[in-house]
Symmetry: C2
Subunit: 231 residues, 2 copies
DNA sequence: GGGTGGTCTAATGTATACAAAATGGTCCCG
DNA sequence: CGGGACCATTTTGTATACATTAGACCACCC
């Protein structure tokens, strides 16, 4: 299966307890079981993960660095919450940096990488064109598509910076809101990006990526406003 | 003294051992006592700071998030070292993001903030105009100047992102290399920035900041090439 | 009745002991 | 003489017990 092929070897053995705690807590946050603003008590998390507080503290430090959680001045931890302004700023930074990544990627694009990206987007198009669009598959392949471009940019610093900026809960909420039309639009933008890469045109790639992220931003905003009104 | 006034209240009581460990280790790195590439052993650091390994581990996690130190796959910690490409990319990202911060700051500039920035730069000009320029004082005030602009941008996300990008060792090495001419040039650019802020002109502020960082980049590069040749 | 102070509780911070893992060296074998 | 495997040592990972601190509740005084 293509989907299986796209799963890659990113996740390691997870032998260390702190790693298990990390991904366990991260899952809690991403799944929404621990909603924004929820307090995170070390002991409770330790019990939940079946480890002691020490690795939990380690995990919380990492999650804090990635802004998944925040700490009050008195060192209590909470699941991060994002205001409308936060999300707006996040998208603005992401657009800027990911467009920069696309530019660098275009300058460095290998045929292998291009082939991989094309296969990714084919998988996206398959997922989208189903009678009942497969949003989970879309998210998986979309994540890989963007990750692969960032990898092609070949800048560890940029990779690390973007990692803290691309909050999967936000991407997820955005995509969940997409109708078929927007999912297809997203795939079309990806194809345009592939054209820019095939032409090895940095300016083009940068411009398309900027538009791609900013459209996603407005899609998210539209939903966000709806939610706020409902309250 | 103005310098004393500029020291602000950033550093707290340091009652917690992990905080002491953090700033102790950070000092080691900034001072160059622990040069790039040097291994950092937890026990050794614990002894040095007079605390146990637990707070040292905490401190190392924080320093790792800020990229002061790096970890090998086998979890050994070393003082971070940057290749020419790393530094180049760091400056490129910093220019992009700090210019963005300047733009936002211009949109939000209060009279109090502007007054503070003006006092900062006056302190810089005093330090620079001495018979023997006070580079340490320059660095202190320069850091505060930039930090204050970022704070004025009022975006926690941007603040956090830039924190990992502005490696003080690099800023330090750049400034140490400056002659009086370049120090004065830096102060002039700051004044230009203040004009842009006074006019509340985002475009102007963004443009000046871009130039400011990129000039610093080339100043650093010039020195870096010299060093490489010497080897 | 409201505010201030104190105590009590629950959370995080720290130290230490022990476990696991990795590195480096040595010895044996090809 | 070179390479590989094994053991010793060093270093990091984890658990647990105890110390410290922040926050809440309550009583008492103004």
């Amino acid at each position: 299966m293509l989907a299986a092929y796209l799963k890659f070897d990113k996740e390691r053995v997870m032998s260390r307890a702190s790693d298990r705690a990390y991904s366990e807590i991260r899952s809690l946050i991403l799944s929404g079981d621990a909603p924004p603003g929820a307090p995170l008590r070390e002991e409770q998390l330790a019990e939940l993960c079946g480890v002691s507080r020490t690795p939990v503290r380690d995990a919380l430090r990492r999650l804090e660095a990635e802004l998944y959680v925040v700490r009050t001045e008195s060192q209590r931890t909470f699941v991060a919450d994002w205001s409308r302004e936060d999300v707006e700023e996040m998208f603005a930074l992401r657009a800027m940096l990911e467009a920069h990544a696309a530019r660098r990627a275009a300058e460095r694009m290998s045929d292998e990488r291009l082939g991989h990206l094309i296969r990714c987007n084919e998988a996206i198009e398959v997922a989208v064109s189903k009678a009942d669009p497969d949003v989970v598959e879309f998210l998986d392949c979309n994540r890989e598509f963007h990750a692969s471009i960032i990898e092609a940019a070949n800048s560890p610093r940029l990779t690390a910076t973007l990692a803290t900026l691309v909050e999967q809960p936000v991407v997820r909420r955005t995509a969940m809101q997409y109708g078929r039309t927007q999912l297809e639009q997203s795939a079309r933008e990806h194809r345009e990006l592939l054209n820019a890469f095939a032409a090895r045109d940095p300016e083009w790639a940068q411009a398309v990526m900027t538009g791609h992220i900013r459209r996603a931003f407005h899609a998210f905003t539209a939903r966000f406003s709806q939610e706020s009104e409902r309250k």
